[in-house]
């Protein structure tokens, strides 16, 4: 067995070697094109729910309905550095609903009741309008339907709520079903840049 290799073996080694070199070359070529990990992201300037200027239009809920996950990887987040802590939050309340005896809208906007409202700081026992309120979105309930995002948009609100991809849940599918459904092409896979953190 350890004798001279046969012609056939030599040929086999040559073909194998050539194939491995070819694969290595392919890998080398691809690595030159690699620029880190792209992740699916939502461009707030394109998404109709957060895009300024688009008012009085239908809320787009494709992020909630198109994801392959049971509960979409897209969530609404409230940017606390912008949120005005309003007494009447148009993203929390359905402000078109009838006013109840407390002077508040009787209906909530979120279909999944994912937003929590609580007075913060020193609470005035006599005047509920005399308080700041914190609005926290429960990430385990939110499905990214975008209603609150649209409601918090200028000029009605402050743009403090936006849709983001939960990178820890996103499967980073090659063929993202939300990106295919997105009518605004706001869903893009690109490397995460430094300045796109929480603003």
């Amino acid at each position: 067995m350890k004798d001279k290799p046969t012609r056939r073996e030599v040929l086999g080694h040559a073909v194998r070697g050539a194939t491995l070199v070819g694969l290595g070359g392919l890998g080398f070529y691809l690595i030159r094109k690699a620029n880190g990990e792209g992740v699916w992201q939502i461009d707030c300037e394109k998404c109709v729910n957060s895009r300024l200027g688009a008012v009085g239009v239908e809320v787009c809920d494709y992020c909630a309905t198109s994801c392959v996950l049971g509960l979409s990887a897209v969530r609404a987040v409230n940017d606390y550095s912008i949120c005005g802590r309003c007494y009447i939050c148009p993203a929390y309340f359905d402000i078109k609903s009838a006013v109840n005896e407390e002077g508040l809208p009787s209906q909530k906007l979120c279909p999944r009741d994912a937003i929590d409202r609580k007075p913060i700081g020193w609470v005035d026992p006599d005047d509920p309008a005399n308080n700041y309120y914190e609005y926290a979105i429960d990430e385990n309930l939110c499905n990214g339907c975008g209603k609150c995002v649209m409601a918090c948009k200028e000029p009605a609100g402050l743009n403090s709520i936006r849709l983001v991809v939960r990178y820890d849940l996103c499967l980073d599918c090659n063929r993202c079903t939300i990106a295919i459904a997105c009518p605004d092409e706001a869903y893009e896979r690109k490397p995460l840049s430094e300045d796109e953190g929480v603003g």
């Binding site: 086999g12 080694h13 073909v15 194998r16 194939t19 491995l20 694969l23 392919l26 890998g27 070529y29 691809l30 690595i31 094109k33 690699a34 880190g36 990990e37 792209g38 992740v39 957060s50 895009r51 300024l52 392959v68 996950l69 049971g70 969530r75 987040v77 409230n78 940017d79 606390y80 550095s81 912008i82 949120c83 802590r85 913060i120 700081g121 020193w122 700041y132 914190e134 979105i137 200028e154 402050l158 743009n159 403090s160 936006r162 983001v164 939960r166 990178y167 820890d168 849940l169 499967l171 980073d172 599918c173 090659n174 063929r175 079903t177 690109k190 490397p191 953190g197 929480v198 603003g199």
Partner: protein
Amino acid sequence: MNPRTGVKKTNVTEQGAAGFSPHGAASALEFAALANQSRPRGMKPAALLFSLTSFSLTSFLLISVVSVGVFLLGATQAFAQQIDYERPVDVAPSPEDIGEEYVLPVTPQAPPRAQWREAVDVAVLAAALLLCTWIVLVRRSRRWLVVLSIGCLLYFGFYREGCICPIGAIQNVVVALTDPNAAISYFVIAFFLLPLIMTVLFGRVFCGGVCPLGALQDLVLLPTAGRGAGRYIFTTAGGGAGRYIPLRVPRVLDKIMGTFKWVYLVLAIWLAARPTETRDFIICRFDPFVGFFRFTGPTHMLLIGAGLLVLGMFLGRPYCRYLCPYGAILSLLSRISWRYVTITPDKELDCGLCAESCPYGAMKDLRAEKSSCLFCARCFNACPRHRVRGRPEVTSNESSQSS
């Protein structure tokens, strides 16, 4: 322009001079449009010249005061004065306004999957490939292979939920090769190339114990009765009378159906190579089992997957053999593999006992055919020489017990 903070940057051409510029005959109509008067007429030439010099003055007007607006001005402008909003108006109340030692909550933002975790995926893949090679070619154990494939099914299938996989990576590679603007992740490259390199060296080890799609199909294949029936999934298929034998596909038909995967591969490459607007990742779109890994998915995917699994109970690994586009590449590369599965651990005897053990039709002339052997290790137990000598330590144990 930042949509969230609403900072609008606009270039404003300023005009004006000292004092009001008297305006001449304006439209006499009440509330008439003054649109046509972009600049008050009747300006003194000097003032006009002055205002012209200030035309290049470019200022950024602030509409939202969330961010600090800065007026950028040419240094030589007469009116140049940097207007900085030293004290911008905040929308959010400060913690001091809120009181009671309010702490600003952190806005939730899940970080992207850490690079090291992606690297762990690659490491797991590499380790699984090496382990599978060792189990099949050296240890020659069906039992350990099943353990490994279940492990890989749990990790790559149910934990990583079917993404990232080398099969889908074909499309990313095609996109990276054809689209000059496309980027590709290092980890995708590794997932694409590692199984290919292992195939050139050792055969289709990826199919045998690493691929979660293959593992799922391998596990649903109806077990055959026979030796060690209680441990059915660990035992061989075939090998004796009165036992269940998976559906045999006539060799010619098997070869014909095997060309489907080439068609699929070409179609996938063609669709992935198209421009962005019409690009489609068909492999991912019709991935049959990813819906099971995620416990949800489009109906067509789940139906195809269920159909393939039901079929796979009677016919060994239909997706791998007839459809998998990555399998097409692997079957080609495995033809030149350096090492490969030999049914008998040493010299092959042509006794024919193994003939019916292969559920995947990879047995040709009593040898495992390189291009279609899926490294399932079922045939080993059918070989009498394997049973005697394939597991030397067992033999030595028995001999030590008997002594």
